[in-house]
């Protein structure tokens, strides 16, 4: 047990101060999200105060126009944002890697099709595509994850393909091949472990991208209207008539905005450190 603690510490030691701050922020947000998930009091749905109360002891971040506590909504929004962020990043990462490994390993027509698809996907502007897809599939959290994954797989696919292309001619692969190793064996024993570190980095990049995309879609009204994601909170507060001529924006607009920025910055810090630790250039 002592050794494990030692190892965890050693891993944490490798993070810079910024990285540690990032991890701390994420832990706080996960606690907040966990609390709102398991408290079971539906604080984010049911008014618990007067409408548009200032931040106070009872309501740390004030209330919205219906009198619903904003901190509770931020907590619930953290669940939505993080689940959308991680789920779509993992989906895009896994999907993209599989496609990339296939293309890189088999080459030929498969490679040409995948490369062409990647080119097309990166040529199309992402936001309009996302809006069209979001409007087409309808507004629900699952659909948003699908839409974001659908446009984010290109990065991982390209990276995986490039890595596999360079690994193909490594002596250990050639050797394994000559002993009769098939694609499945090679992929499982050599290719996937080989691309793992680099994938980790590109998945982390997609996470922050996906979180912002979800907030953007919800803000535009393409998110799940019944969820209280940060984008939905922003949508409602910014649409409140004349909000900037009142004091309400100080808690109603700033809270989701700051939460969003904190999460994205935290992920960026962690991503930078992970990139350094796994050293993708090795």
């Amino acid at each position: 047990m002592n050794t494990r603690t030692f190892h965890t510490c050693a891993f944490l030691e490798k993070f810079s101060t910024y990285g540690k701050i990032g991890i701390a922020i994420i832990i706080i947000l996960i606690c907040l999200a966990g609390y709102s998930l398991f408290a079971g009091n539906d604080m984010h749905m049911i008014p618990s105060g007067e409408s548009l109360e200032r931040p106070s002891i009872a309501h740390w971040l004030g209330t919205d126009d219906l009198g619903i506590d904003i901190l509770a909504q931020i907590g619930h929004g953290a669940t939505v944002s993080m689940s959308v962020g991680f789920a779509s990043a993992i989906l895009a990462g896994v999907g993209g890697s599989v496609i990339g490994i296939f293309a890189g390993y088999f080459g030929g027509t498969a490679d040409k099709i995948v490369t062409a698809l990647c080119d097309i996907m990166s040529a199309i502007p992402q936001l309009p595509l996302m809006i069209v897809l979001g409007a087409f599939f309808g507004s629900s959290t699952a659909n948003i994850i699908m839409v974001i994954a659908m446009i984010s797989w290109v990065g991982p696919a390209r990276t995986a393909r490039a890595k596999v292309l360079s690994m193909r001619n490594e002596t250990f692969i050639v050797a394994a091949h000559s002993y009769g190793a098939g694609f499945a064996h090679l992929a499982y024993r050599h290719l996937i472990p080989g691309i793992m570190p680099i994938m980790l980095v590109s998945v982390i990049r997609i996470v922050s991208h996906a979180i912002v995309a979800e907030a953007g879609l919800s803000f535009l009204g393409l998110g799940d209207p019944l969820s209280k994601s940060w984008g939905v909170i922003l949508n409602r507060s910014l649409n409140f008539p004349g909000i900037y001529f009142t004091d309400f924006w100080k808690w109603w607009i700033l809270s989701p905005l700051v939460a969003l920025m904190l999460l994205v910055v935290a992920i960026a810090f962690i991503g930078r450190d992970v990139e350094r630790i796994v050293d993708t250039k090795r």
Binding site: D65, L66, P241, G242, Y244
Partner: protein
């Protein structure tokens, strides 16, 4: 559309207190009360320079019978109130009605007269966009209209017969944030959100005019589609179970009034306050439901305001065991559902609640199609009786009685009606005014003309 009021003149105009002579300088009523003879102004011109005559007015009455405009006051319960209209001479119009009614003068007075020399050749007015489609006789003529932007520009009509147009041009322009545009002086009048009205009230640079919007949010119940709603106790339970004061405080941020279940607004001189008021009482609601629980779907438009009201209703009703599933759609889809009846509960904010209470008849009376699956012969006959009662006191009694009966039945749940807070800079323009039956001062023709003192006093009928 209300902007048409600036473009077209009418026989009578409306100011703060009542109807005033406009194109008709004077009129007489025949002994049997059915025939009105209007003496029209001899100096009125159309925007293309042709004289406006009694012939145009008589033609308009006939044309509206064949091609009803969007809002047609001359059509009640499916029958046209005018039986005969003719021009006795160039400037004398005689109109005969189907019966004697205290409401007909205002109805015929509000009819917008269209030029015969243009419309007599038009068979399909909805599709007509040709030359002269916007020729009117009002103090302003249409200069340009941009349908993509929804922008209108009207310019003063120099040869107008009546009070001088106060502005050289009036523009309706779309802005992203009206408060910001008003602050920057891009627009001159706004209907300000409740939360910023106090800051304008304190500032002498601005004037705030407040009036009831003559609109009210209402929860319509489809009794054809949902059998449970045919039980008056269920409907009453819903009214008792909705915290309508919370709608005023939270959804409208205080700039609203709880509406009356008798339909007539509390600000109206016809309002009967001695009827069931239905204060928020969840215990009573549950008692009326007798332990039963219900699930309804509620159709609303996807406006921020509509969603907010729907959400509050949902929260409120969940306390008495009524589950509401909110469905939000495009406002046009929702408006369409009002006619087709494809809904269980429907939330809508409608107007037409100013002026003469005869509007009760179009909603609760014979031939009304607004409320699906409900009719009441007693209410219908009282509403029929008030429409022909010439004695103002007796008529008031009938209208009061109708409100009481309507409130006891709750055919439609009246929620809350918004207050309009118009803000403007008096240094720039100070003629904004309300009409006795309409609260949008930007829709009111008299807001845009210079009335002399004598015109403002003594001419009110």
């Amino acid at each position: 559309m209300s902007k048409m009021q600036i473009l077209y003149d009418t026989l009578l105009e409306k100011d703060e207190h009542g109807d005033i002579p406009w194109l008709a300088e004077s009129w007489e009523v025949s002994k049997d009360g059915k025939t009105y003879t209007f003496h029209m102004r001899t100096n009125a011109l159309w925007h293309d320079g042709q004289p406006l005559t009694a012939e145009d007015a008589a033609f308009t009455i006939g044309y509206y019978r064949e091609h009803p405009p969007v809002v047609n006051d001359l059509l009640i319960g499916g029958s046209y109130i005018v039986t005969d209209a003719k021009a006795l001479d160039e400037y004398t119009l005689q109109v005969t009605f189907d019966k004697v009614s205290p409401t007909y003068l205002t109805k015929i007075g509000g009819m917008r007269i269209i030029p015969k020399h243009i419309w007599e050749h038009v068979d399909d007015p909805i599709a007509f966009t040709g030359a002269g489609a916007t020729i009117g006789s009002g103090p302003y003529k249409l200069d340009s209209y941009d349908p993509q932007q929804g922008a209108y520009r009207f310019i003063a009509f120099e040869d107008y017969w009546g009070p001088e147009p106060a502005a050289a041009a009036i523009e309706w322009i779309p802005v992203g944030d009206s408060v910001l545009a008003f602050q920057n002086g891009e627009i001159d009048l706004i209907n300000a959100p409740a939360d910023i009205v106090p800051s304008y009230r304190e500032n002498p640079e601005f004037t705030v005019k407040t009036a009831h919007s003559f609109h009210s949010y209402r929860l319509m119940m489809n009794m054809d589609a949902v059998k449970a709603l045919q039980d008056a106790n269920v409907r009453k339970a819903l009214v008792f179970g909705i915290d309508r004061q919370a709608l005023v405080d939270k959804a409208a941020r205080g700039a609203a009034m709880v509406s009356s279940q008798g339909y007539v607004l509390p600000v109206s001189p016809w309002y009967n306050k001695d009827i069931e008021q239905y204060p928020y009482d969840p215990d009573k609601a549950q008692e009326l439901l007798g332990g039963a629980t219900y699930t309804f779907s509620l159709l609303t438009d996807n406006s921020a305001d509509g969603m907010k009201v729907a959400e509050l209703i949902k929260l409120s009703l969940s306390q008495i065991g009524v589950t509401v599933n909110v469905q939000s759609v495009e406002s046009k889809t929702r408006d369409n559902a009002v006619n087709t009846g494809k809904y269980e509960l429907l939330l809508i904010n409608s107007g037409g609640m100013g002026g003469d209470p005869d509007y009760l008849r179009t909603i609760y009376g014979t031939g009304g199609t607004t409320i699906k699956g409900w009719s009441d012969p007693q209410i219908a006959s009282i509403l029929e009786a008030q429409s022909v009662e010439l004695d103002p006191n007796k008529r008031k009694e009938l209208v009061y009685e109708a409100q009481k009966l309507i409130a006891d039945q709750v055919p439609m749940i009246m929620l809350h009606g918004a207050l309009d807070n118009f803000v403007y800079r008096p240094a720039k323009y100070d003629h904004w005014m309300f009409r006795y039956d309409h609260s949008k001062c930007d829709h009111n023709k008299l807001s845009y003309v210079i009335r002399t003192e004598s015109e403002q006093a003594g001419q009110t009928t």
